[in-house]
């Protein structure tokens, strides 16, 4: 694998202690796949081919098996994302309580449609299915955190706080 004429460096985990700990928790190696993918994504921001190869080696399987797994789960990204990922729940209870207006707000103000990232990488906008917080609809997840019972005004203010 070449890039700019130099050999691209293979992905390595920075927190090897955590890798050890993950393996120690499971009776077999392959069960560590998802936790390792989460760990790699928190380090790199997304799952590159290099990450897949490293994990395949660690869990002792073909990289196609890891890739198969990566392709299945919506929380694993195969491309770099914006600095902040906005996930607006669009399933029924949120939809009945104004989720569409939240999506439109981001689209109008920041000029990105669902699935897109701003040119300056500030936000990535996604429409997602049920986040499991229907009682406080509409709900938006920004990065790892839930923000519940949002009005457009509250949402607007909240977004301003993310640089």
């Amino acid at each position: 694998m070449k890039s700019n004429g130099k050999l691209k460096q293979r992905f390595t985990f920075s927190d090897l202690e955590r890798v050890e700990q993950i393996f120690s928790q499971y009776p077999d190696k392959k069960s560590a796949t998802l936790p390792l993918l989460h760990l790699a994504q928190s380090q790199e921001g997304y799952i590159s081919n290099s990450v897949i190869e490293t994990i395949a080696d660690l869990v002792d399987c073909h990289s196609a098996v890891v890739m198969d797994c990566v392709s299945f789960y919506t929380m694993l990204y195969t491309k770099p994302q914006g600095r902040h990922i906005i996930q607006v729940c669009q399933t029924l209870s949120c939809s009945l309580n104004g989720a569409d207006a939240l999506v439109d707000h981001v689209t109008d103000k920041y000029e990105i449609k669902p699935g897109e990232t701003m040119a300056n990488d500030r936000f990535t906008l996604m429409k997602v299915e049920c986040l499991g917080s229907c009682g406080t609809a509409p709900v938006v997840q920004i990065n790892k955190e839930y923000h519940e019972g949002l009005s457009t005004q509250k949402f607007d203010k909240l977004l301003e706080s993310f640089e």
């Binding site: 069960s31 936790p35 993918l37 299945f72 694993l76 009945l96 049920c130 499991g132 406080t136």
Partner: protein, 432 residues
């Protein structure tokens, strides 16, 4: 029942209710102490006698499930706590994890002891990051206090608990999909039999129980199967967390006895419908249940048996309320889109059928519906979920119940609000 006092959520308004000192101050882990002095078989018997039925959606009797674990197998046994809560309309497990995590953990140790398990997992949906971090602390605290690890509370019994995060897939709430996912694969449900109790995680006997189900266990042990059975209908008794969302003034989670009336839940607990609007339809048990019209909903008791009689189901007890202004075709499309997105893609009828439903409903909404679309919608749902015959349970076209979970609600929309679908057909052009 006016005399009902919440069991699982009794203390959730108290400060520090999630901490070990608080939980111990209200009798936490006394049930575990009691259980560790009992025979595992007697624990299973007590749970069987209580008629506790799974709170995740399927409603299978918990004690009976445990009883399927082979006695003579020398393979390790596994317990998995299903915390992959993702059924639209359902948000109770997240509350239990945030407010009463030790209650759930005590339930896990009790269940693990009963089935002879020494390694147990909490499979928590990936989006619940805050809850994951909290559970990490809770589990560490339990190890430090000899409630997990070697020789729990001075007994001969040892148990490890591992927290495993999902990564965004509704189907991993289905128990065999969950097991595949835990094994580091895509969450494709397995063909049953063999059931997980015989061959589950790593081909070993495995029990998968829901967060709320496990949270009931300390109370059953402390107060007895008879007490539990005395709450609500005998065939499916106990306290239940009802989640109410959608068009209501006061959405939230309300703990009530099984068999509470749906009318009371909507108009009393959840404060009725905003702006004096009329009730139109309700999902009684998550988005996988067939919807009930206002007339059907108004005198329904929220009990496993009664909702089956009404050709719907109690499921996860996630109640989604729709008022008179809700467009049923749009609502149906919203639900169909959810299932099309979440279909795991393993079985053709479901993978293709859910996508067709979305295409057809989108076309209909955009004014391009064709005269035989209504019949076609029925045909597709029948092809995904099997001919809808509630008396026979109507299973069979797909490996897991996802097929029924999309067919039932979509079909119920078209059947019960056919006029609204027809209106789209007769209009020349409808603006999306």
């Amino acid at each position: 029942m006016n005399t009902f006092k919440p069991v699982l959520t009794e203390y959730i308004d108290q400060q520090d209710c999630h901490t070990l000192p608080f939980y111990k101050s209200v009798g936490g882990y006394t049930a575990l102490d009691k259980v560790l002095k009992m025979n595992p078989e007697d624990v299973t018997k007590e749970v069987k006698d209580s008629n506790l039925r799974g709170r995740g959606g399927a409603g299978f009797p918990t004690g009976v499930k445990w009883g399927f674990i082979p006695k003579d197998s020398d393979k390790p046994k596994y317990l998995i706590n299903n915390a992959d809560e993702s059924e639209p309309g359902t948000f109770k497990d997240r509350l239990l994890m945030n407010k009463a995590p030790h209650q759930m953990l005590e339930g896990m140790v009790i269940a693990a002891y009963a089935i002879g398990c020494h390694t147990s997992f909490i499979y928590i949906r990936g989006e619940f990051y805050k809850e994951y971090k909290l559970l990490e602390k809770v589990v560490t605290e339990a190890y430090e206090n000899n409630l997990l690890g070697d020789n729990i509370l001075g007994s001969n019994y040892s148990l490890d608990v591992v927290i495993h995060r999902g990564a965004g897939a509704y189907i991993c709430g289905e128990e065999t999909g969950l097991i595949e996912s835990l094994e580091g694969k895509r969450g494709w449900p397995r063909i049953k039999p063999p059931f997980p109790a015989i061959e589950g995680y790593l081909q070993s006997p495995t029990i998968v129980n829901n967060v709320e189900t496990l949270s009931c266990l300390p109370h059953i042990v402390n107060r007895g199967a008879g007490w539990f059975k005395s709450i609500g209908p005998e065939k499916g008794p106990g306290p239940r967390l009802f989640c109410i969302s959608g068009c209501v003034n006061n959405p939230g989670i309300f703990e009530e006895p099984m068999g509470v009336s749906l009318k009371d839940l909507i108009f009393d607990r959840a404060g009725g419908i905003p702006d004096g609007k009329q009730l139109k339809a309700v999902f009684p048990g998550g988005s996988s249940s067939a919807i009930l019209t206002a007339n059907e909903a108004i005198d329904v008791m929220m009990d496993f048996e009664e909702l089956v009689e009404k050709k719907s189901m109690l499921g996860s007890a996630g109640v989604i309320v729709m008022d008179e202004t809700v467009n049923m075709v749009q609502a149906c499309l919203n639900i169909a889109r959810f299932y099309a997105h979440e279909s795991c893609g393993q079985c053709t009828p479901c993978r293709e059928g859910t996508a067709w439903l979305v295409k057809m409903l989108t076309r209909l909404v955009n004014g391009g519906g064709k005269p035989n679309d209504i019949d076609m919608l029925f045909e597709i749902t029948d092809n995904i979920g099997g001919l809808i015959d509630f008396s026979k349970g109507s299973f069979g076209k797909t490996i897991c119940p996802f097929g029924e979970a999309v067919a039932w609600p979509v079909r119920s929309f078209v059947e019960k609000f056919k006029n609204e679908f027809m209106e789209y057909l007769t209009q020349e052009k409808v603006v999306a």
